[in-house]
């Protein structure tokens, strides 16, 4: 037992050494090794697949090259827990020797594998989870966040409710840490009266009791945090109770998007959604992206695809500015920070904590040409920053 454990220890150290002492090649490398970690099965695999569609589209458009250098892609199944994520990340580091990691789905997984990836000198991007722990005092030059700091979405929804003149709002959410944080985050920017609250078990899909209570409370608007199957059921039952036309719903774009439009039908129409990107945004990069996505996959993209697509386009510019040589990782990080890339979401810059400074938009679900789609109605916040960056003192 002792012997095998010692052997295992040596093996691990040896692997780490080998990774750290790989010769830094001068000049353009033969290829850039990109790693992707995702849950290949289970409920969040839909999100992972959407990210891969964005990645695939970007690489097709870039001729499978970043800054002129051929790309090699390595995928590992991170499943859904921090330990399985860490195992998958270790495989990418030790067996695949990746240069850059993109994608990710869960904050707790990212927190588990960011340190070993950074130690192996991998430049880490995240296209979805943006844990606040990495935005403030815990910020690190090893991580670039393409998506958002987790609390900015709820803050933007609160802003949208205030902007819409909501005076009495009802809050309905799943009863766990993230759900309660989402409600608290929105309430920082929504200053009206609270008509009532409901916190429900994650697995609940029948909301008859809550909808009756909402009807009785007569609010101006309802804030909804019910991702996944719960949100679909809620929207259908809310519409079925005849409330859809009377009480507007506010949520993030996940409440009703191209993944759920078919399951929602007319129940989705009129929902007020807030996000940092919508397919409807009118800028040249986005029009091009959405048209190419529709041509390739037969439907409009969801935000997860847009974030990963942006990620690859940003990398392409950064690698090109270095003439394809990414062996100096500090130079690569500088090039990423200073990149002139044009995001599909419009204005975009990295803050000091390497989280985005970006706009938030409000959209409404409408039916046009017989199809449900997001119609952008307003810009809710311009150059919006997360609430943690001033605690970040980036080691340079």
């Amino acid at each position: 037992m002792l012997i095998s454990r010692r052997r295992l220890g040596t093996g691990l150290v040896g692997g780490a050494l080998a990774a750290a002492t790989r010769p830094a090649r001068a000049g353009p490398p033969a290829s850039i090794r990109i790693g992707v970690l995702h849950a290949m099965t289970g409920p969040i695999s839909v999100i992972a697949r959407e990210q891969m569609m964005g990645l695939e589209l970007a690489l097709t458009r870039l001729g499978n090259r970043l800054g002129g250098v051929p790309v090699e892609l390595f995928e590992e199944d991170a499943r859904m827990t921090p330990d399985t994520g860490l195992q998958a990340a270790t495989r990418l580091i030790e067996q695949r020797h990746i240069d850059i990691l993109v994608g990710n789905q869960l904050s707790n997984q990212l927190l588990a594998y960011i340190a070993p990836l950074a130690a192996a000198n991998v430049v880490v991007f995240t296209d979805l989870p943006g844990p606040s722990q990495l935005a403030g005092a815990g910020c690190t030059p090893d991580l670039f966040v393409m998506s958002w700091e987790n609390n900015t979405n709820s803050a933007a929804i609160g802003l949208a409710m205030t902007a819409a003149g909501v005076k009495r709002a009802y809050f309905i959410s799943q009863n766990y840490v993230t759900g309660r944080e989402y409600v608290a985050g929105a309430r920082k920017f929504y200053h009206g009266e609270v008509a009532g609250e409901a916190y429900l078990p994650i697995e609940q899909t029948d909301y008859a009791a809550e909808i009756a209570a909402i009807r009785a409370a007569r609010p101006d608007a309802v804030y909804v945090f019910l991702p996944g199957a719960g949100g679909i059921a809620f929207l259908k039952q809310f519409a079925g109770a005849g409330l859809k036309a009377r009480i507007p719903l506010f949520s993030g774009s996940w409440l009703a998007d191209e993944h759920s439009f078919a399951a929602l039908g007319a129940a989705a129409e009129g929902a007020h959604l807030v996000a940092n990107w919508f397919a409807d945004l009118d800028n040249p990069q986005n029009v091009e992206f959405v048209a190419a996505f529709v041509a390739k996959f037969g439907r409009r993209p969801v935000v997860y695809a847009a974030m990963t697509y942006d990620n690859m386009m940003l990398l392409d510019r950064a690698v090109a500015s270095l003439g394809g040589d990414i062996s100096d990782r500090d130079a690569l990080r500088r090039a990423i920070r200073g990149s002139d890339f044009q995001s599909v979401r419009g204005p975009f810059a990295f803050n000091v904590n390497q989280f985005p400074i970006q706009n938030y938009y409000a959209a409404e679900v409408v039916r046009s040409d017989g199809e449900l789609r997001h119609k952008v109605t307003a810009t809710i916040a311009t150059g919006f920053k997360d609430g943690y960056f001033d605690q970040c003192h980036m080691p340079r």
């Binding site: 609250e197 809550e210 009756a212 209570a213 109770a241 005849g242 759920s260 078919a262 399951a263």
Partner: protein, 299 residues
């Protein structure tokens, strides 16, 4: 809370209870008569919803699709029983739990392969769409009233079948003493197949009629299964009357708990207690009547 809202919430509780009854009746009778624990019962709720969604998308006719889905689930019940379950009836409960848990995973994966992981849509038929004004200033969704009525009709039909038909008499006889029944020349295996298929059909029916209210997708049956087991324990194993009383009780307690406890106890303790109310009810029933509300006292 005024009377109108209280009445509406009670109605919501009854509607939820009726759906639970459709799930729990089959579970209870199969457990009571065949002494068989079927963890895959919740999966059949999901399969029912998928059958219905598929037929409805093909035919565009709610009633015909419902009828076809009912027939398909009866057939599936028969095939499952003859093909798999019959081999498990004489095994220990541990074997049954392991095997049916395996089936549960198999069906979930199969559904993911056949129907994909994105949710399906079943529209509410135009006739049942919208709300109806009830006394006490209540606007109640017509569809929820309709499925409550369907559930009550099925309960009545089940009662008539068990109490007033030869098939029902055989079921009751089988529950009391299956060896004597078998000795009198009744093919107990086919009797079991019939009971199993009807149980499957009822679970699938619950999934079908709930389909237009929720997201039809893989894994939708598992939470219903857990609550259905609570119903079976409270009602008493093997008793259809017990299952009906207990379903309505669990439905109303759960719904009123969700509606009232957060108002009384605040938004921290309220939701936490509301989500455990039915388990507290189950513990209380087990303490006072371990055999369940109308279960036979066991030696």
């Amino acid at each position: 809370m005024d009377f109108g809202l209280f009445a509406e919430q009670t109605l919501n509780g009854v509607q939820y209870g009726i759906m639970l009854f459709l799930m729990a009746a089959g579970l209870s009778v199969i457990f009571g008569i065949m002494n068989f624990i079927n963890l895959a019962h919740g999966t059949l709720y999901m399969i029912g919803a998928f059958f219905f969604a598929t037929f409805d998308a093909w035919l565009g006719n709610f009633a015909v699709a419902l009828l076809l889905a009912i027939l398909a689930s009866l057939l599936l019940g028969l095939v499952l029983d003859r093909g798999v379950m019959q081999r498990l009836y004489d095994r220990t409960h541990l074997d049954q739990v392991l095997a049916t848990f395996g089936l549960l995973m198999f069906f979930n994966e199969l559904a993911a392969v056949l129907w994909g992981t994105e949710p399906y849509f079943i529209p509410v038929p135009a006739l049942l769409d919208g709300t109806i004004a009830l006394p006490g200033d209540i606007d109640y969704p017509v569809y929820r009233l309709a499925i409550t009525a369907v559930g009550l009709l099925v309960a009545l039909g089940l009662y008539l079948m068990v109490e007033h038909t030869r098939f029902g008499m055989l079921i009751r006889a089988g529950a009391t003493d299956r060896e004597t029944l078998s000795g009198m020349g009744v093919d107990v295996r086919w009797l079991y197949s019939g009971v199993f298929a009807i149980g499957v059909m009822m679970a699938a029916l619950a999934g079908m009629v709930t389909g237009p209210l929720v997201a039809v997708q893989v894994g939708m049956g598992e939470t219903m299964l857990i609550v259905a087991f609570v119903v079976v324990v409270i009602g008493g194993i093997g008793s259809i009357t017990g299952a009906l009383v207990s379903s309505l009780l669990v439905g109303v307690v759960d719904t009123l708990g969700r509606a009232l406890l957060p108002v009384w106890l605040g938004y921290t303790a309220g939701p936490a207690l509301a989500s455990m109310s039915i388990y507290v009810l189950m513990a209380a029933v087990l303490l006072l009547r371990p055999q369940g509300l109308s279960g036979a006292r066991r030696a």
